[in-house]
C-alpha cells in the first residue's frame, strides 16, 4: 500500500499545459452564425445549398397556404374566382366545428368541452409536488372518469347505476380539490383532519373509514343536487371528429400499458397455460394488420358475446384497438424487463418481497423508466393509427375531412382539410413527445 502511494506522488509532477488558443468572439447572432453556419468553405457551401433547397420547397407551399389563400368565402367556386392558386381555408373554417365535434349537435357541444375539461381538471393535481397518493388519484381517475365523461357525452336516461358512479366520480373530484387546498394550507388531507375523531371506533382503520365516510357524504350530496338535471340524449352515431379520435385513442393509450404489462408478465410466467396464452395473443395480434383487427371486431366480435350484451360499434372498436395496442406494448415492456439485472430480483427476494410486490415496486418502475421513449413512440403511433377507424364507418376526424370534399358547396376540397388535420395532429403528437422528454429529464435528474 505505502509503496503505491509514494509511486502516485511521484507521478504528480508539474507538467505545464499548452497555451490556450486566443478567444474567438462567438457572442451574439453574428458570432453564432459565423461559428455554426459559415465556418469554413464546405460548411458555407452546405449552408447555402440547404437554404436554397428549403426555399425552393417551402416557397410554393407558403404561396399556396398563406399568400394566395382565401380565408372567407361562401363556397368553393367563390374561392376559385378570388384566387385560383391559393388554398381555400374558408371551407375548412366553415367545417371546423365538425372536424372537432363530428355531428354532435351544435347546441350541446358544451357538454363535450365540459367532459374533457373535467378530465383535464382531474389530471392537473398529479403535477403537484406536495400531494401524496398520486397512484390512488390516477387509478381512481382511470376507473371513474370514463363513467363521468360517458354520462355527460351521452345524456338521456342512463339508469341508476351509471348515475351513482357518475356522482361517485364527481364526489372524488370535489374531495380531491378540497384535499389540494387543505394540503397547501394546513398540510393535511380532509380525511386526516377527521380521522382522530373516528379512532375510538375504528382504531387502526380510522384513516380509511374517514375517507369512506367523507366520500359517501359528498356522493349523497351530488346525488341530491343533480337528481333533477336531465341531459338530452346524443347517440354515439353523432359522435365524431377529433372528439371521437381522442376518445378512442385516450382509451387505448390508458389501457395499452396495463394490458401490455399483464401480457409481458404472462409471457415470462412459469405457468405454461398463462405463457402460451400470452404468446399466442401477442404473436397473433402483431402479425395481423390493424385494419383487419378493426374489421373483425365489427363483424366477428358480436359472435363471441351473448345477444343480451348489446355492444355498440364504438365499444367494439375500442376493445379491438386496446388489444392491438396492448400486444405491441407487451413487447416494449418485455424489452424493458429484460434490461433489469438479475441482482434486482435477488435483492427483492432476499428482502422477502413476493412476486407482485417485486414486480410493481422494483422491476416495473425501472423497466418502464428505461422504456419511456419507446412507450411514448407507440402512444404517438397509436394516436395516429386511430384514424383508421374511419374505414369501418366511424365519423372520426378523417371521415369528417373527407366529408368536406363531398359537401355540395365545397365539392372537391381535398387538400386543405388534410393539411388542417396534419397541423392538428402535429400539435398533439409534438406535445406528447415534448412531455415525454421532460419526464425523462426529470426522472434522470432524480437519480
Amino acid at each position: 500500500m505505502d509503496e503505491q502511494t509514494t509511486a502516485k506522488t511521484e507521478l504528480l509532477k508539474f507538467v505545464p499545459k499548452p497555451d490556450r488558443p486566443p478567444i474567438v468572439i462567438s457572442h451574439g447572432i453574428a458570432g453564432w452564425l459565423k461559428k455554426h453556419l459559415f465556418g469554413g468553405f464546405w460548411n458555407t457551401l452546405l449552408t447555402i445549398a440547404v437554404f436554397t433547397l428549403l426555399y425552393l420547397l417551402i416557397k410554393p407551399f407558403l404561396d399556396w397556404a398563406v399568400i394566395n389563400a382565401v380565408w372567407s368565402a361562401a363556397n368553393r367556386r367563390e374561392c376559385m374566382t378570388v384566387s385560383p392558386d391559393g388554398a381555400c381555408w374558408a371551407g375548412v373554417i366553415r367545417w371546423f366545428n365538425n372536424l372537432i365535434y363530428g355531428r354532435y349537435p351544435d347546441l350541446l357541444q358544451w357538454r363535450v368541452n365540459l367532459g374533457f375539461g373535467i378530465g383535464i381538471i382531474w389530471a392537473l393535481p398529479l403535477a403537484l409536488k406536495r400531494l401524496k397518493g398520486k397512484l390512488q388519484i390516477g387509478v381512481a381517475g382511470v376507473v371513474l372518469y370514463p363513467f363521468v365523461a360517458a354520462y355527460i357525452f351521452l345524456g338521456g336516461e342512463r339508469g341508476d347505476f351509471h348515475y351513482l358512479v357518475f356522482c361517485l366520480g364527481l364526489a372524488y373530484l370535489i374531495l380531491l380539490y378540497i384535499d389540494v387546498a387543505l394540503v397547501h394550507t394546513r398540510g393535511k388531507k380532509l380525511s386526516q383532519v377527521f380521522d382522530r375523531y373516528l379512532e375510538p371506533i375504528f382504531g387502526k382503520r380510522s384513516a380509511v373509514a374517514s375517507f369512506i365516510l367523507i366520500m359517501a357524504l359528498i356522493t349523497v350530496l351530488c346525488l341530491y343536487i343533480f337528481r333533477g338535471v336531465e341531459l338530452e340524449y346524443v347517440s354515439i352515431e353523432f359522435w365524431g371528429g377529433l372528439f371521437l379520435t381522442v376518445i378512442i385513442s385516450g382509451f387505448s393509450i390508458t389501457m395499452a400499458l396495463p394490458i401490455g404489462i399483464m401480457l409481458a408478465l404472462g409471457r415470462r410466467s412459469t405457468m405454461p397455460v398463462l405463457r402460451w396464452f400470452s404468446i399466442a395473443t401477442i404473436e397473433l395480434v402483431r402479425s395481423v394488420p390493424m385494419i383487419t383487427v378493426l374489421f373483425m371486431s365489427v363483424t366477428m366480435m358480436p359472435l363471441f358475446f351473448p345477444n343480451t350484451m348489446d355492444l355498440n360499434k364504438l365499444a367494439q372498436v375500442i376493445i379491438a384497438v386496446c388489444v392491438f395496442a396492448g400486444a405491441y406494448m407487451a413487447e416494449t415492456v418485455r424489452g424493458g424487463l429484460q434490461s433489469i439485472p438479475k441482482g434486482q430480483f435477488d435483492a427483492a427476494m432476499s428482502i422477502g418481497l413476493g412476486y407482485w410486490q417485486t414486480m410493481f415496486l422494483i422491476i416495473l418502475p425501472q423497466a418502464l423508466r428505461a422504456m419511456i421513449p419507446n412507450i411514448v413512440t407507440s402512444f404517438i403511433s397509436l394516436f395516429k393509427d386511430t384514424t383508421l377507424v374511419s374505414i369501418i364507418g366511424l365519423f372520426d376526424i378523417m371521415l369528417m375531412a373527407r366529408n368536406i370534399s363531398i359537401d355540395k358547396n365545397w365539392f372537391g376540397l381535398h387538400s386543405e382539410p388534410l393539411v388542417a388535420i396534419s397541423v392538428l395532429f402535429f400539435v398533439f403528437c409534438y406535445g406528447m413527445s415534448q412531455y415525454s422528454q421532460r419526464l425523462e429529464r426529470k426522472l434522470n435528474t432524480s437519480r
Partner: protein, 263 residues
C-alpha cells in the same frame, strides 16, 4: 463431515436447542453439472462462519440455496428448525429470519437510500411510514451514513452502497445474515469501512455466514472457517486450524495464493 467442532470451538457460548441453520444431504445439479455435493452443516445461533474456496467451487450457489434464491434437488435446509421444503412457506421463513448481502450491492437504483431501507418494513412488516423512517435512520446512523439518506444509490460510492445494503437488510430485523463476497467489488479503502460494519454486526451477536477472501476478517471474527472445492466441504474448523495448518494440499495452495495476492 461431522459437526462436533461447534462444541469445542464455542465452549463459552450457550448452545441453543435448535441450530440457526441446519443443512443435511444437500445436493444440487445445474443440468448435468453437480455443483453441490452432500453438504452437511449445522450453524448455531450467534456463530460466525466464513466460507472460502477457489472460483467456481459453488460457494455462491451454496449460500443462495440457504436464502432460497436457488432450488436444489436433494437434501433439506432448516432455519431455526423450520424446513424450507415448501416453497410457499419458505419465503416467509426467509423473510422473517434471513438477510443477504451481494457482491454487487443490488440497491434499488430508482429509490432513495432511505426508501431502499424502509421498503421492506413498510410493505412486509406493515410498520407505519414515520416509524419505519425513524428506525431506518437509526440503522443508517449505525453504519455511518445517515447524512446520505436522501441521495440515490447512483450518487454514492461502492463502500457506502454496500453499507446501505447492510442497513436495508437489518431493517427487516433478521437473525441470520448471509454475505456473498461483500467486499470483492470494492476498492481497498472502502473494504475496511464495510468490514468494520461487519465486525460490529458480529459483535452484536448476529449469526453470520460469509463467503469472503478477507483472511484477516476470518482470523479475527470467524468461529469456523469452511473451505470448499468442487462443490464439497473439504475442510472445516476454527480459523487457526484451517488457515494455519490445513489438512489438504489444495487448501494450502489456495491460501498461499490468496494471501500472496492480498499483501
Amino acid at each position: 463431515m461431522t459437526i462436533d467442532m461447534t462444541e469445542t470451538n464455542n465452549a463459552e457460548k450457550a448452545i441453543p436447542a435448535v441450530s440457526a441453520v441446519e443443512i443435511s444431504g444437500l445436493n444440487k445439479w445445474f443440468d448435468e453439472f453437480h455443483v453441490l455435493k452432500d453438504i452437511e452443516l449445522s450453524v448455531s445461533e450467534k456463530e460466525i462462519i466464513v466460507i472460502c474456496g477457489p472460483s467456481g467451487s459453488g460457494k455462491s450457489t451454496f449460500i443462495r440455496c440457504i436464502n432460497h434464491l436457488e432450488t436444489y434437488q436433494e437434501g433439506t435446509i432448516s432455519i431455526f428448525g423450520q424446513p424450507l421444503d415448501n416453497p410457499k412457506t419458505a419465503q416467509g421463513i426467509i423473510r422473517d429470519n434471513v438477510g443477504m448481502l451481494f457482491q454487487s450491492f443490488n440497491l434499488f437504483p430508482h429509490l432513495t437510500i432511505i426508501k431502499n431501507c424502509t421498503l421492506g418494513p413498510i410493505w412486509l412488516r406493515r410498520i407505519p411510514e414515520a416509524k419505519a423512517i425513524e428506525q431506518s435512520m437509526a440503522l443508517l446512523d449505525r453504519v455511518g451514513i445517515a447524512d446520505l439518506a436522501e441521495k440515490f444509490p447512483g450518487q454514492i460510492s461502492g463502500g457506502q452502497q454496500q453499507r446501505v445494503a447492510i442497513a436495508r437488510s437489518l431493517a427487516m430485523e433478521p437473525r441470520i445474515m448471509l454475505f456473498d463476497e461483500p467486499t470483492s467489488a470494492l476498492d481497498p479503502e472502502m473494504i475496511k469501512e464495510v468490514l468494520d460494519v461487519m465486525v460490529d454486526l458480529a459483535e452484536s451477536g448476529m449469526t453470520m455466514m460469509c463467503v469472503t477472501h478477507e483472511m484477516q476478517f476470518a482470523h479475527e471474527v470467524a468461529d469456523r472457517v469452511i473451505f470448499m472445492t468442487d462443490g464439497e466441504i473439504v475442510e472445516m474448523g476454527p480459523p487457526e486450524q484451517v488457515l494455519k495448518n490445513p489438512k489438504w494440499d489444495r487448501t494450502q495452495q489456495f491460501l498461499q495464493h490468496v494471501l500472496s495476492h492480498k499483501s
